[in-house]
Symmetry: C2
Subunit: 433 residues, 2 copies
């Protein structure tokens, strides 16, 4: 009988429970294919009794992570605690004992990644985090493995299922963003506190991890411009549709003259593009590399099954590495510049809320002309509210900085009633599918 | 300075040249990220002078693969010779010397895979073949790695760029299949002898490799029903479009009650499905697994850049394995039954060419009713040719065997002028995107 690979399962919630289920269901199959026999040696859970019942068998459950390390023997720690303090401390404790860690904790990697990687390196222990980005979509394997011989230029994706679900419902059923959020919460797609998701921070965490893997840019949440979907109005989706676009919360990481540009924002995507077809809680990651061209990966970005599938695939990789004393190489930090948040160019969508008076479009277009911003299309949709209207522009490529200046000047016009809404066009109609 | 990892580059054609270019361009970057420095130690080419010029430097070029083994030292053999005899013999020679092989040779793996794998196992040497299936799409890594902890149920894909290019042109420009093929050849998308591509054999080779990786079913071209696109008429595409479908050459591998069903055929795909958006020479691979759900990968399936990118990613993996004396585990053969070619059920498209006489539709539907085949929709498009018409059916799910029986009976009817055209509906409109 094969010597088992012993797992410390830190966290027996939705994902942790899913991991235990998957190992129970596929353990034999995994052993016959890989020669690795996994065994959950111990587990961490706040409610020990419930967890023990969930896991079955004679698995020891502790409620303090320190006891996992003082009382039990194991080969791999699977960190599914979430949050910051306990998750981080237990990871560092594992590395201090030269134990590798499999984790799905994107927030922790994005905010304290430097410290964690240094600690892993010091312990000569591996860290595996496929489940941290886009559920079962092998985004990490793509960047680390499949494109290892290539030069990645651009990564973008729909990497928050809650926001994508909301935007999909808003488009298909004309819901408001708050109603769509309430529904997502009811269906279990959104957390009780949806801040991380809805405000774009969760997508930003994942973008930071991908930027680091692809470009060696140190893990940090600085320099990343983040806009969420909380304030997206139903009319934005309607107007965008009239121009042949849909709205997606996109994370975008790209090299611009060897510097890294990174942002998360609701953005316009041409209706016939692959990304536009990614609906509901699905996720997508696209990478463009010099030799390979564009690769698109689409799949479930969250949920017990997909996330557990990614965790167990990491367990297999980790155990394989352990068997030959290998520690996965992490990209060396480099001195690549990270562009300040507003230093990128793009085509854009601009809605200017204004009084329905003669000459308002002329004055607005005058502002744009003064800033050398050229207009691809402009519409003034009929308004029900009589006195108020919107002037909606599609603008040719210009700098984001310049566009902010335009917003400021437009907001200062007499007939403009509110701050303009500015959104990047991430996938123009001219982009080849 | 790092000790170099020495490559024997067997074949300096489009892909081999692309590999050399990629290593020249990204070599430093690869070394800084992975610690591996690649060096082409020797090369094999029929035209030694041209190859030496193409490779530059002082790389020794041989025209007989035996001299590669007798005269040179290397760590990894990259087999890009193509064809059968020399490719296979040089691979076996490498394994006999305990040298790992990276290859893009799908035909060889699909037809002589058993022998090759046995030889690799005997030599305790690895074999890496990401480039053999769907160019830069990491299909092999998906099946071997990303879904290693999951249970795969179904794989399907658009995995022949030539056929997809032809079908796309036929739809968008009403071309005949022979004109579309001539254009594909002119553009370099199709070989001078397009048999392997157009008749579906290339897709079948790749399907056989994926079936083996996913299900452990031994590599073989037996038991696989293969239909290509050579005889597809423009009107099939037109009629399918009227029902809201497009036509794609699909490879389909799935578990049906634990037995493996595998076929390659032009098939109908609902217009709004992800696979329908995969146009021109692009490829797509979809895998469905128990926990992960459905994953779709889309990218360039051929060409020097994408294929070289996959080869070099394999080189990185191979060199990493070499450094720790690891040989990748191949799925153990199992005793899973492979279903005979016609043992699957599906919805289908059936066109019955007939004389435009009263009662012909009644007689045709009578035949279907006798066989318990129920009809979802039927159309009799107006015909220009006066006396001749088509009766086009969409049929509810039934066995392929039963459908063949129906074709035979329909062909025997007095007013039916030609053998009916039968195509599976791979993605019905009811399938969730």
């Amino acid at each position: 009988m094969t010597k088992p690979c012993r797992i410390a399962l830190l966290g027996v919630g939705t994902v942790g429970g899913g991991v235990a289920d998957l190992l129970a269901r596929n353990g034999e199959d995994i052993e016959s294919r890989t020669g690795i026999r996994f065994e959950i040696a111990c587990a961490l859970a706040r409610n020990r009794e419930r967890a023990a019942k969930r896991l079955g068998g004679n698995i020891a459950v502790e409620s303090d992570w320190r006891r996992i390390f003082s009382e039990h023997e194991f080969d791999i720690a699977v960190e599914l605690i979430g949050g910051e303090t306990d998750a981080c401390e237990s990871m560092l404790a594992a590395f201090a004992r030269n134990k590798p860690v499999v984790t799905a904790n994107k927030a922790l990697l994005a905010t304290r990644g430097g410290e964690i990687l240094a600690s892993a390196a010091k312990g000569a222990a591996g860290i595996y985090f496929e489940a941290a980005v886009a559920g079962c979509i092998p985004a990490i394997r793509l960047l680390k493995g499949a494109l290892a011989g290539d030069r990645i230029r651009h990564i973008r994706g729909i990497i928050n299922g809650t926001c994508n679900y909301m935007l999909t419902r808003m488009r298909t059923d004309g819901m408001s963003s708050s109603d769509a959020l309430a529904e997502a919460q009811q269906l279990g797609y959104a957390e009780a506190d949806p801040t991380l998701d809805v405000d774009g921070l969760d997508a930003a965490h994942k973008a930071v991890i991908m930027a680091w893997l692809a470009f060696g840019t140190p893990l940090t949440m600085n320099n990343i411009a983040v806009t969420g979907v909380r304030t997206i109005a139903a009319k934005e989706i309607e107007y965008a549709a009239e121009f042949g676009f849909c709205l997606k919360l996109l994370a975008n990481v790209e090299l611009i003259e060897e510097a890294v540009s990174i942002w998360v924002s609701p953005a316009l995507v041409a209706d016939n593009h692959t990304l536009a077809q990614v609906e509901g809680s699905m996720n997508a990651v696209q990478a463009k590399a010099d030799a390979a061209g564009e690769l698109s990966l689409i799949g479930a970005g969250a949920g017990a099954g997909p996330t557990a599938s990614a965790v167990v695939s990491d367990l297999v990789e980790c155990a394989t590495d352990l068997a030959c004393n290998r520690v996965p190489v992490m990209p060396p930090e480099n001195s690549r510049k990270v562009l300040a948040a507003e230093m990128f160019n793009c085509q854009s969508y601009l809605r200017v809320p204004a009084m329905d008076k003669p000459g308002v479009m002329a004055r607005a277009t005058g502002v744009l002309a003064d800033l050398d911003i050229s207009i691809e299309a402009v519409r003034q949709p009929e308004s029900d509210s009589g006195a108020k209207t919107d002037v909606v522009f599609l603008l040719h490529e210009t700098s984001w900085q310049n566009l902010h200046k335009a917003c400021k000047m437009l907001a200062g016009l007499d007939d403009v009633t509110d701050w303009p809404v500015l959104l990047p066009i991430a996938v123009p109609h001219t982009e080849k599918k």
